[in-house]
């Protein structure tokens, strides 16, 4: 879910940024903060250097006071949720491993990573850890076999970092349709509305539309990449990481809105530019 206890949020903010303003110390542990991951782009690409005054955010139409905007400095929790079903084998598996290795190679000190694989079996192949080598080893050992539990795998990916206060990027790769999940797409999309994880999905183009991946990316403020081939999968993975690092993490205390239910979010950059953020959150 989007709302975390401020205690947890501040713990992260103090440790990772070190530039938190004094006013944040007035937060009470009884008050919940909302975090919104935002990408601002203009004709030249991502826009950097923006502060709280440069954003306008409305929660169910009510203008909110932004307390914190962080950029780049927040360590990432990158969770890879990779399709390891029958259809991913041979060269495609090699390319997927290489793409995963590429994104792991792009992580910085303080970042953490985890690996979830899914066929019909969902596995936490490597738990969330700053020891990236462990994740890399697990990735190298992953093999393809079985049918596809895409929805289950995405849910598991969301949960891997749910109890960690870090900023989560969920990278999902699948080349097929879901054929084996227990969980329904609707339920996991409902969970996605409550999750802080931003989902970037990569789908190999086929006759079937990747509707679930498109929806989960949209609900979390991420993006879906549809690729024709997997030869350059590594560059797509790296592009995702680079884009994610260009995002702002906005935090505010919701005021003047009901606590429960769906909150429609509208985020605007006062200086202009295209803003990409989650469309809302469920509390």
């Amino acid at each position: 879910m989007n709302i975390r206890s401020v205690t947890a949020t501040l713990f992260l903010a103090a440790g990772a940024i070190g530039t938190a303003r004094a006013q944040q110390a007035t937060f009470s542990s009884r008050i919940d903060a909302v975090r919104v991951d935002v990408l601002v782009t203009d004709a030249n690409g991502p826009v950097s250097g923006l502060g709280p005054a440069d954003f306008e955010i409305r929660d169910n139409g009510v203008l909110q006071q932004i307390d914190l905007v962080s950029f780049e400095q927040v360590p990432l929790n990158v969770v890879l949720a990779l399709d390891m079903s029958d259809s991913v084998a041979g060269d495609r598996l090699d390319r997927l491993r290489a793409a995963g290795a590429a994104i792991l190679g792009g992580l910085q000190s303080g970042d953490q990573a985890a690996l979830v694989t899914f066929s019909h079996v969902v596995r936490l192949a490597a738990k969330l850890s700053a020891d990236i080598g462990t994740v890399r080893t697990a990735l190298a050992r992953a093999t393809g076999d079985g049918s596809t539990s895409l929805v289950d795998g995405v849910f598991m990916g969301m949960q891997v970092g749910a109890s960690d206060a870090g900023r989560e990027l969920l990278v999902v790769f699948s080349d097929g349709l879901d054929t084996a999940s227990w969980l329904s797409a609707d339920k996991v999309l409902d969970v996605a509305k409550r999750s802080d994880a931003v989902t970037y999905a990569i789908s190999v183009r086929s006759h079937a539309r990747p509707e679930f991946l498109r929806d989960v990316a949209s609900f979390t403020g991420g993006r879906l990449f549809e690729v024709e081939r997997t030869e350059r999968l590594d560059s797509v993975f790296l592009q995702i990481l680079q884009e994610f690092r260009q995002r702002y993490l906005i935090s505010y205390m919701p005021r003047g809105v009901a606590k429960e239910g769906w909150h429609k979010l509208e985020v605007r950059a006062r200086r202009g530019g295209t803003v990409k953020a989650r469309p809302g959150y469920q509390s």
Binding site: D86, G146, D152, F155, S163, G176
Partner: protein
Amino acid sequence: MKSLATALFFVATTLSARTPLDARGLDDPGSRVARIEWWLNATFEHDPGTPDTTVVDISGWSTADLEAFRIDLRVFVQLMRDPRLSSFKTPAKELDCIDCFAARRDVTQARLLVPERRIHYTDAQLHRLKVLACAAAGTVESVDCVGLHADREIAGGLRQLAARTTAARRGGDDSYVLRRAALLHTDVAMVTAHSLRPVDTSATDAEPSVRVHMVDGQAAGVGVGEIHWAIGRDLIDAIRPRPDAMARLWYVATSAWMQRDQQYDPGHLQRARELFPDDASIAFLSGTHAETFASPGIQSALKTAVLPTGLTLRMGNESSELKTAEAMLQRAVQIDPSFPEAHVHLGHVLLARGKPQAAVAELAAVGTPDPLLRYYADMFLGAAEEALSHPDAARAAYERAAALFPRAQSPLLALSALYARRSDRGGATKAIGSVFDLPQDAESRDDPWWRYTTVQGRNAGDLLDRLRAPFLHAAER
């Protein structure tokens, strides 16, 4: 039969050139009559369920062989009933059947129109067919067959066959050969389930068996499959009088086998329902068939299969298949209210059709100690209670399922999602932690959800054993 099918598939592939007779078309009736004679002997020699040379040889027949054979077989069966017949033709009909095949590969057939055809034999060929028919029917001593001098014109194995069929007829069964032959072609159909030949849509004079192979929800190939199931149905259809207990068991056992091995053939069950409209097992298997067709793994065929021009999949969308499934499963529980597995599947279908209240009522009626069925019932009950906004009842149901199969991931995922949707992060984390702790290798996991679409066929082996038992050579001696 699983191991037989696997082993024989390989043998049949490597020995496909060893057909007992030259592959010749309808312009060579002499060869075709000889093939019927060879087949009749082979039918008698074959031990049902055994990977013998008969199965290997027949599995190597070409498509043209099989098409011609099926026509001759229809004539032959008519002659078994009335050796005085002298004019034959195949009726025009629209064909529509769907097959599927195993190891997560599913096969779907399309429909084509087959025109009427007249069948020609020389007098000598027709005479020989009649003599063979007399032996097969156990009627060599009948007036018509005596007039044909049938008794004098058969020897060796055929004479033994005639003695056996005559004894069976005296015992009240004049369909002995038809039964054995159906079992033979059943074995060949199982062995050749994986074969696929290029589609020739111009060949409208033959019955096609167009199939779509699927791997992991994606169409992996389109081709023509074997028609041994259709031949088996022809033979079972010819058994008299109706209804026949073996015919019923044949349909139940083979349908269960098909669903267990993911080879779906709506035409198979359609014929079964026509013959046995009040049979709970056939209604049940028809329901589970439609339920499976509504599943994502099969529905994806609609999205990913690229069929040759003129062919369409004979498969409804998810909604229509679920509607069919509900009707069939309702019929099954109406015929047999104490059919727990039918209640389980009906509960699942009702849930999928957006009727959680009805699903709860149905699943509550599942009174069985079978842990497998209880697992499914609890999982579906949990989902139905969730849909009714009864989280505590849902949690209890999922927890019961988790207790039944501790190495299953689905109940734990369901619990975690249930907590997560209630914004209970602690509960969600604890439940997902249990998934993290499950064994990494698939072999050590045990989640019945993974085999839900095939579980109704889990007794196929026992059913086939029962079906074959009276015809095993050891039993007949």
